[in-house]
Symmetry: C2
Subunit: 321 residues, 2 copies
Amino acid sequence: MKPYAFGVDIGGTSIKIGLAKTSGWLFETRKIGTPSDLSAESFLLSISEVIKQRIHARGLKAADFAGIGVGVPGPVDEKGVVHGCPNLGWSEVDVKGILSRALDIPVQVGNDANVAALGEMWQGGGKGFSNLVMVTLGTGVGGGVIVDQHIVCGQYGSAGEIGHLHVSDTESEPCGCSNFGCLEQYASATGIVRTASRLLCVHPDVPSILRKAAPLDAKIVCDGARAGDALATSAVESAMDQLGKALAMVSCVVDPEAYVIGGGVSLASDVLMPPLKKAYRRYAFPSSRHTAFKQAVLGNQAGIIGGIKLAVADAKGNKEK
Amino acid sequence: MKPYAFGVDIGGTSIKIGLAKTSGWLFETRKIGTPSDLSAESFLLSISEVIKQRIHARGLKAADFAGIGVGVPGPVDEKGVVHGCPNLGWSEVDVKGILSRALDIPVQVGNDANVAALGEMWQGGGKGFSNLVMVTLGTGVGGGVIVDQHIVCGQYGSAGEIGHLHVSDTESEPCGCSNFGCLEQYASATGIVRTASRLLCVHPDVPSILRKAAPLDAKIVCDGARAGDALATSAVESAMDQLGKALAMVSCVVDPEAYVIGGGVSLASDVLMPPLKKAYRRYAFPSSRHTAFKQAVLGNQAGIIGGIKLAVADAKGNKEK
């Protein structure tokens, strides 16, 4: 195994590039702004220039690198082609092809949520598990499914779209995906606020500290629940009931060893985890009731660490062939 | 690769043993009654005796066999231990260990629904796909998840328990698993009959040919729908709406290339498939709306053919190491 690898996490506002030993020791991280005025090819070539520069600055050469693992915010197929990244204004882009041609190092590409799940499995909240599902509770609800230490991509790159599990037959507002009743409409930051707002309207006589907050956000709702506010508690329990129900269904499909919960909302895990576990156990198929729940620990670095793991796993796979 | 393999399908009423070339040609099938008065070990040793006898009768020897793949009706872990088979009265049984010691041939063990899914992928309705989910519509609803040509077992052997996806928040009767609102309560043969019976009660003035049937069964309901009976059509559409919704959720988890629909109920695929596909597309995440739907074709032989594939895949895996 060659001694070094890069992990690259391409996001809508910044690109993070991590340089690591293949053993897993991340010793350099760079963050650059996402360019908004470049074509996809020029964008990727600018990343390859930064990588070349870092290799040179460290007195290394391309032949010292086992690989580069890249996470992108869109569905990725097995050939490393991404099929549309709304945040970057990309349609179909051959990320692997472009970076491989620019750099004489093997490149692997994955969906950012899936790559982050791989990172949490390797060095984060999911360490020690080979089969896990990561759930990211942020503005939306993202996910990544890992089976036998490998990302499950799916035919259209839609495996792990946990946020779009159908959890309600009675929803009247559409989800961003155009369906009605998706998990993301309830368990995301936006969803928690929406539920709290609905409760405030439906129960105008119930006193709540949430009434003073303008604008309301998920942190305020979780803080309210922590302080014992009945309406905030009800909003949090309702969101976690939907999440628990959805994860019980995920267990009927892949029956993972653990769920790793990450994303900004999960910072309130003291408030969220008890009702989440309770709901999960209520809905789960009997033999899956004791699946572990862990908190993600890598934060914004999950993507680069997962990228490094992607590169290392591929290099190991190539070696075995 | 050694030239021969056995596939064994252990069921509650019969045991099927298939002898095949590892290329896939099944040239002998034996069916024996499931013994009811033996301990699990004696039961498995009686199977090993039949296998030894068939090897001898064909003028072969153990060294000619790449392996034996066995499907059992219960959750199986990675070590080939089954954790409870209610149909056989077994608690924890080391199927792989017992058969391996009795026969000098490598043994692989899987859950029967998962092994059948592997069989359909190899030589049946899922031929040509590497990522599929098989759904068996019978007395209950079973399933098997295949990712990259491998069975996904799950931590507790509960991966592919499609029948226990939660599809209704308003169910008042418990499922066999003790939860409320499982897919199996609607899309199984029993579920279709239950829905039709409910509709007959709720709409006593609606004429229906189903009113003449005593007892009602799923075939009569499907035949009624085919003949244009409004109430039977409504029952079938309701069942397929729940199944389509459930499979749309499965796509959010593993996003397979195809669903392969099997089991006794699926014989009425002309009546079931149109409303199933329509419901699936309505609920599916946009990028997964065009997943293929195929009918299973191997029937009762899916288990032995899958068993042979399990043995062959393992032998290939061993060879590559």
